[in-house]
Structures are given as structure tokens and as C-alpha cells.
Symmetry: C2
Subunit: 646 residues, 2 copies
Amino acid sequence: MSDIKITSAFWREYQELITKEVLPYQWDVMNDAAEVEMMHEPGGNEELPESSHAIANLEIAAGLKDGRHSGYTFQDTDVYKWLEAAAYSLKYHPDAKLARITERLLDLIAEAQDDDGYLVTFFQIEAPDRKFARLKQSHELYTMGHYIEAAVAYYEVTGNEKALGIAVRMADCIDAHFGSDEDQIAGYDGHPEVELALVRLYEVTHDAKYLKLAKFFIDERGQDRFFDRQMEADGLDRDVIDGMRNFPLSYYQAEKPVREQETADGHAVRLVYLCTGMAKVAHLTQDTELADACRTLWGNIVNKRMYVTGAIGSTNIGEAFTGDYDLPNDTMYGETCASVGLAFFAKEMLELDSKGEYADVLERVLFNSIISGMSLDGTHFFYVNPLQANPGICQHNPNRAHVLSRRADWFGCACCPSNVARMVASIDRYMYTMKENCILMHQFISNEATFDNGVKVSQTSNYPWDGAIQCEIQKEGSRIEKMGIRIPNWTEGHFTVVVDGKQESFVPEDGFVYVPLKEGKTVISLDLDMSVRQWQANPKVPYNFGKVALQRGPMVYCLEQTDHKADLWRYRLTNDSEFTYRFEEQLLNGVGVISGNGERSCAPESEDLYHAYGDIVWEQDDLFFIPYYAWANREDGQMQVWIDHK
Amino acid sequence: MSDIKITSAFWREYQELITKEVLPYQWDVMNDAAEVEMMHEPGGNEELPESSHAIANLEIAAGLKDGRHSGYTFQDTDVYKWLEAAAYSLKYHPDAKLARITERLLDLIAEAQDDDGYLVTFFQIEAPDRKFARLKQSHELYTMGHYIEAAVAYYEVTGNEKALGIAVRMADCIDAHFGSDEDQIAGYDGHPEVELALVRLYEVTHDAKYLKLAKFFIDERGQDRFFDRQMEADGLDRDVIDGMRNFPLSYYQAEKPVREQETADGHAVRLVYLCTGMAKVAHLTQDTELADACRTLWGNIVNKRMYVTGAIGSTNIGEAFTGDYDLPNDTMYGETCASVGLAFFAKEMLELDSKGEYADVLERVLFNSIISGMSLDGTHFFYVNPLQANPGICQHNPNRAHVLSRRADWFGCACCPSNVARMVASIDRYMYTMKENCILMHQFISNEATFDNGVKVSQTSNYPWDGAIQCEIQKEGSRIEKMGIRIPNWTEGHFTVVVDGKQESFVPEDGFVYVPLKEGKTVISLDLDMSVRQWQANPKVPYNFGKVALQRGPMVYCLEQTDHKADLWRYRLTNDSEFTYRFEEQLLNGVGVISGNGERSCAPESEDLYHAYGDIVWEQDDLFFIPYYAWANREDGQMQVWIDHK
């Protein structure tokens, strides 16, 4: 449908990092060939394994090796998400060695797959009699769904039919076992994902049964006591993941039918994966009720439960949403995977509705809470992406122990590292949304795009550091009549559009200006106001009252202790604060930084824990802001996004 | 040694509440005769029982009833702490009915006691073969220690030898089983308490073996792998309390020998109970090294880890201390029992050193974080005493779910309700500390005291609402030469002392002024400055930066939502704030309240979660403060101790 090549310096660098560092590193880790310190995923309560063992599990399942399964029931998904990232990488950076590795990996996966299409190494190795018997915890459909996603991507990039064939056999296996027939399981997975994967498979195979199966899983969800019935039959105390038994049904997105859910509750990743599948099905089946359910959940997330970085999940307990306006900065979760999932959801909402707010949020997570999940060297990862960190406290306070100030080598549950890899590697898929007679250009990441409807776009800029964006659009006999260009909400309406040299005064409709396209070439110059902006949170958010967060362009900024003289909470901005932006070539691989004048409290240190109030003495001092995504790449210390404002 | 009768209107009312409401209510609850909604103690992870069953456990152990044990291994302690409170009540309010109940209870306890003196109903009923086999979790010495405390109190009040006899047999049983001999257990209880109880028993029996045994437990603590060895022998997975197996040794105050501990870590109640025992032993055995260990731990608590209300324990996870200056207001614990234990510790430190700071902290917990643990009607209790509560958030955020804004009827682990009862009922024991040639008068709770060294004191005031304190001291041929009167640290040095009508300019030494006593009568008028004080926390405490807490006299104040127009975080004080104090007879059983002018932000409500910073518009508004102890006795809502200061 389209061929899009990313040319953005910022994102090209990230994509090359994926190819050159991240994929080789993660491949070594999954092969237990890298020396890594494993870290508990912060919500975890399993014994910590010594290594990933993800490839070994497949080898054992394939009969190539003896041994026991190690890791979670969904350990295979690390491999699949890596494979998906590798597929995308092969597109923008063909590499014979990587291609050989992925082809061999596909051979291994094929060998590990059972004759009936089933492939979840944990159950094949450890509990073959319990396949599909305990879906609340098993992650079997989640696991196979991740392979299906990877295979579709691999097929799309390479045309490899073998990869797709494995996926088709898996999906057929699932289709055979699940459904409304008497001999089928009328149930669903405790972790949504297969829904969106099946729609992806439908999109390449055009076999309607996969779409129907996705819809079945969505509509079945939360309808009855499915989980309980299965657990009773399987044996109540025979958990396959410790500690999950008592999580409420809302954690599993199974408290009520999805069409009746009005608030974003429970496990954040589960919710956004589910919503992505729901939005895909709603779009493809013209199910307006389901689309409305998506809109309701979207609205609750982004208007009441989302951090300014795009992070979601206000608590580590259940890695979950909490309540409206409950956005603590220092006890939060903000899982990298949840931001990735929110990007998925946003992309699908753009298919449903031509509204800029979806793309605004997509941009927010891409430039902030997703890439913050990976270190600049590509080999360290955050699970939790806090808006405030204080290593001195997190070391001692178990309510804050999940908030790391250093990225980890790897995790016992390593869902995030490969998720950020596949997201960054597939960034080209998040640039445009095709409508009836219009293309929505909603991201400003330089690219060269050729659409199969006779439109070519060349977009160039130094975004995110510069707001001047040049687009050359070539149209030859296409049904496309106009280009919808998003005006980001952070511009607060300050932008100019010049079409073929003439400034036009477009008024955005739902966040887009629509530029008519003539036959041949249209040149559009967009200029977005890149002033430093200070946001404040809704006053119903208790944690941020009287504070501001800085944003410039799509980038949210933060303070790091290493650039400051004292504890970060002793700084504040004032009405006299002015901000200077500059690009620092040598810092953090090159970042745009902000200096601002403000004040620092310089009260003499007291030994007393409590003492009589005296005016706090404020001294003029400078604050130094770096983009949020780049924090924790220098010396360990405090970090803060929300800053006191006098 | 002394006979002290409380005459303070404030505390008499509390003591009458104990007698008339609290003791009958708790007796009914323990007899499963009250309709109560049981609530999980907020750190708890056991199945919640339907009722207390505490008396029933004793009846079953005594063979009077069939059935199983229900509740924790230390369920008996609810009864013992109640008995201790009843003993104190019988002193200040003789009551034939209560005396009959306690006598019968003692009969029941005697019947439940094994021939060898052992009495822990859980092990007698459920696991007689595992007595003393798993002390890390069993609470056996803790349980018997609580009986010993109760029995000593009962004996002191009533002279009842039977009560004491049971305690002596218990202590002898412990003495027989524990020690350095080859056939003895060289170990200690996972929950310190027996140490202080054994010293109490020594104080009434003068039998040195109890003091020696207390010292043995203190010195044995943290010395070796005792817990591990016992658990291995008993069967690693045979927990008697679920979920406790993986708590670190610091939780049990067993990570290192107590003399080497430099910071207050682990379970807060365990630490202060242990320190109380340590200070008692240090005092009675002239063990200066042990006394220094007490001073070190005291200093760390009160200078770095104590809330302004006197509450301790910064996290619900492990009901524990965290680190220096880590005093979050909304995720904290501040268990009522920990404040009670801190009062015990303070009292013992006063025996060691004539320093006002111990009595300052004692006053702080008595007037704030202990009595906040009980509702004004005496039938509802807090386990957690937060400095900030927001019911809207606590309902949805599991990191804050332990912070209740309503006191509970009763708890699965009901340690706090009876602890506050015995503390309030024995308040007369916390007024004075006897030194060589001096009496320290360190609390200003009106009383009539007769000391057996020929001194009588009559102290009258309307404290805590009024700072004018009258003392008449009658001395007849006593070794006592002077009266040490504490000058509270909250006066900031503003006080006057008039002796026999003449104003004297004493300079406090370590927080005390020493008034010489002549033969016959000395009249001392003390006037403490009761101005409203604004405290600020050390700037190293991130949570309180830029905020103040109000205190007047010993009372810390708070805001409640019911008295205000908007969310409490939208109010602030300014340098123009002035405070007016008045006593409100009709409010909250009569309280001194503070009105202050301040500001309220009146930004228009926005639907946006984030919006561009605009000056917050502040309107003049009034703030209304009530004493902290009295919060949560009206309609449910937000509460806040620390208030923003412009």
C-alpha cells in the first residue's frame, strides 16, 4: 500500500541503533550468550532466572536439546517481538547476516511447532496435558499472537511464505479450539493481544475467519465465569504464574463485556492491546458500537489518566490504572510496553476518526515515554518510566523500589526491551493514515513516501528540534484530493502554512488543516511554533498542583541532578523565568536543551527535622532541562519533570 | 513508689471513655458478641476471619469448649492488652462488674495454661508439637510477654497474686527453655516484647533471673542463623503466618546484634518494643554500651525518621522504617502501636538521661499520633495514621489503599485498639521520672501525685488548651531537693516560671529548669507560650518542601475537607497569615480550633488534563484547623497536615 523510508536524522539514528546494537545485543541475551545482570520486572514476584533461556526453550520444544523450560509461560514472545523488530530492520537496512539468523530462527520455530499448529514452549515442555486449560494465566493466545504479528511483518518485508505458513497454522489451531461450538472453548486469553494479531493476519491473508475469530474473542470477553470454570477444572492451586491468582477480573480486562467498560482500569498493557484489537475490528466490520467503546476508553485514558509524557499506569501493583486524576509522579508505573500499546491504539483510532488528538498522543508517546525505555547505547532498558526519581529514597522505600533511576541489562519478564525495538524499527508505519480521498500526514518525521494510489511525499525537516517542515507532494491521477496535515495541540494554534509559495490561513478541523492537492507537484511549508511551553496539570491532579512541566515541540523536558547544585525540589520557576533553547551536539548523542532562569532555595542546612518556619531565602539560579527521553544516561541521581512554579 | 491521680479534664474524659465505652466494646468484640465489620490490618495478607475469637481460643485451650483456633498465632495478646487496660481502669475507676469480669478472665487464663507454664493457644490447639520450634513467626514469647505485662499491671493495681503467679509460671517456662545451656534454645522471638515484659516482672518480683533472661534475649538477637536453623528443622514451607517468610532479617530486628545497629530499620513496632527492653536493661544493669545503642537508635528515629505527629513507619510494606528524611505523607504507615511503643521508649530514655527531648517526643505522641488511633466515641480505630488522606484516591490506588480515612470497627490483626486503650488508661505512669535527688515533671497533664519519698504534687491547668500551669509541691523530710520542669521545645524558649510568687529567670538545662524545693510547700506557676507555631521540615524531606504544619501547645493541627470549599491542596498560607485560636465547646467533644487567613486558588475548572500555564489566581480565603487527633470524626473527606506556604 505504501513504501515509506525514514530520513529523519533523529529517527534514522534510532533505527540504526536498533540494527547495529539492539538486535545483536538482544539476540545474544536470548541465546544466553551475553553477560547480563537480570533484574526483576518491577511488578514481578517470580523467582528470578539466571538468564533468558528464550531460544533454548524453542530448541528443547523442537527436540534439538534436552532440558527444562525456563522463564515465564510467555517467554517465547521475547523471540517473536525480536523477530518482528528484525523484520522491520531488514526493510530499512538490508543485512545478509541478520537475514540468515532470522531464516534459521524461522526453521527453529517451525520445528518447535506441533503438528496441529500449537506452539507455546512452556506447555509443550512442561505441561502438554494442560494446553488451553488455564487461559487466565497461561498467555497461550498472547504468545501465539505475538508470533503471528512477527510473521505478518516478516512476510510483508520479505515475502517469506514459510513465516506466514507457521502463523496460519497457529491461527487455524486457535480457530479450531476456540468458538461457540459445543466442542470448542468459549473463552479468551487472560492477556489480550491475539485479537489485534488475528486482524493483522486477516489483513495479509484476507481470510475472514481470522477477523471473525478476533471479534469472537472481543465479544466473549468478560461475559461469564470462564476463568473460574477453567481454573476449577484445572485445579485451583495449580498456578502457572505465582501470585496472579488473586488479581481482580478488572486486571484481566474481564470484569465486564468490553462494550460496557467506561473507564480504563486494570493492567494498562492489557487494556491498550485490547483496545487496539477492538478498534481494528470496529473499523473493519463497521461496528459503530464497538468504535464508541474505543472512543470512551480513549477519552478516559487521555483526559484523566495519562501522564504528560504519554506514560500510563499509575501503580506498580497490578501494573495498572488507578482512578481519574490520580497521577503520582514517584510511585507510578508508566510501563514502556503500555506506551507502545497506546501508540498502537492511537494509530487505530486514526483509522476510525480523522482527529488530531489521536496523533497528538501518538507523537507524545513516540518522542517521550517509548524511547525513554531504552538507553542511548541501546543495551539498557526501563520497564518503569517515572516522572520523578530519587535514588536515595527508592533504595530504602519499598513503595518506590520499582522506580529505578538506572536502566537494567535485562528483565526476568523482558517484554519491554523487544517492544521498544519493534516500535522504533516500524516507525514508518505511524506516519500517515489513508482516508477515502485524503492522506493524513500526522507525524513530522522526515520521510520519503510512495503510496500505491499515485501519490509521493517527500517530507524534510530537522524535527523534533526545528518546527520548519517542507513537504513536496507529487500526485499522478489519484483519487486523493487533499493532504490533511496535523497541527499539533502543543502549538496552541501558532503555525503557518505556505502552499506553493503562498501563505494560506487554514483553520484546523479536529486538529488537521486540509491542503488541496493538484495534479503534479504541490509544495507545502509548515512552520510550527517551537516556543518553550509550560504546561500545568488539571487542578484535580493533587500531585502537580502549583507545578509546571516544560515542553518544546513534541519533547517533554526534565531536570537531572547532575546539572544542578542541590536537591531538585529546591528549584522553582517564576513569572520572570525565560527560556533559551540550544542544540548541544556533544551532549547525550546530540540533544536540544533548555536553560531557564529561576530560583533555588538556599536555606542554611539545619540538623533539626522540624524547625520554626522562616521565610525561605531564594537565590537566582539557572535550571537546565534535557529532553525526558534522554534522562538516566549520565551519572545516577534525581530526576524531575514537574517543577515548582512560584 | 507513687500514687498519681489524673485530674486533667482532657485526659479524664479519655480515661472515662476507656472505662465506659472502650473496654466493654472490646470485651464484646473479643467474645464475638458485637456486630463488627472486620477489616484487614493494612499490612496484612492472611485470610480475614469473621470475628475475633480471642476468648474462644482460650476456652478451647482450657478444654471448656471444642473447636479450632482462629486468628493469628498471637491472637491471645488482644485479651492480654485488654486485661492490662482493664487493670489500669480499675485503679482510676473502681468498678465491681469489671473486676468480676477480669477475675473470671484470670481463671480462664489459668485453666488454659499448661502445667509447665506454657500458654499460647494457637500452638496448644493447632500445633502442640511445634512449640518454640519456629520463633521467627510464632510470636510465642511476644504473646506470653503481653500476658506478663498485663499480670504485672493487674498485680500492681489489685495485689492479685493469682495473676502474677500465672506470669511467673510463664516466665519460668521461658527461662527453662531459653538460654545458653546445651538443652536450651539459644534464640529469641521474631517480635521483641518479652524483653520489656521480663524486666517489668523483675521490677515487681525482684527475681534477678528475669532481668538476666531479658538481657540474654537482647544480646542473643541478630547473632547467628538462629531463625534459619529453626525453620529448616521445622520445615521451611510450614509457615504459621503466610507471607512472612521472605521478609528480610531487618524486619525482625535480627540483621545484626542490637549494639551494632545504627539506624532504625525494619518493622517499626518491633524496633521500639526492642529499644524499650534495651533501655530498661541498660538502666537496671548500668550497661553503658547498651544505653549508647539506645541513644543512637533514638537519635536516628526522632531526628531523621519521625513524622511531626510523632508517627513512625514510612511504609506499609513491612510496616517499616525506610530511610533518613523519607517521610511521605500519603503512602506512609504510622501505626498506632508504633507510637505507643515510641512512648514506652521515651519513658525509658528519661530514666537513663534527664533530657527534655525524650519528654517532648513522649508528649508529641500522646497528644497526637496515639489518640488519633481511636475515634471520639471509643469504638473505631486506626491502624495507620497518615498525615494526608484523600479517600477518592485511596479507593483506587493500591499504593495508598492502606491509608483509610475512616476508622474501622476491628481488625483481623487487632493489635492497635487494645494498645491505645492500655496507653490511655495508664497515662498517669508517664507524668514524672524519679531521679536521685530530683523529680522530673515532664508532662503537663493535671494530676495529684503522692510519692513515697515524702513529696506531694498537685498540678492544675487547662492543658493542652491553656499554657498556664500551677504546681503546688509539698515536701516533708525527703531526699528530693528539686523539681525538674520540662520546658517544651515547641515554646522556642518562651516561658515564665514564678516560684512562690517571684518570677525566676531559669535557663533550661537539656530541656529542664530545676526549681529548688524547700521543706513544706513550694508553689510554681509555669506559663508556656501557646502561640500558634508554624513548623517547616528539614529541606532534605522532599515531601514537605515549601509547606508548613501548625502546632499550638502540644497539638499538631490539620485541615479537613468538610470545613473547606475546595480540594485541600488548593489552599495555602502566606506571610500575612494570622491565626486565631478559640475553644469550640460543641465541636468534636470540645476542641481548640485555629482559624487562619490564607489563599485559595480559584482557577476556573478545566476539562483539559494539561493546559498552558497561566498565573494561578489566588483569592483570600480562610483556613480552619482542628487538632490532628480529632480528624475523621465527621464526614469522610480529605485531610492534610502539611499546607503549602506561599
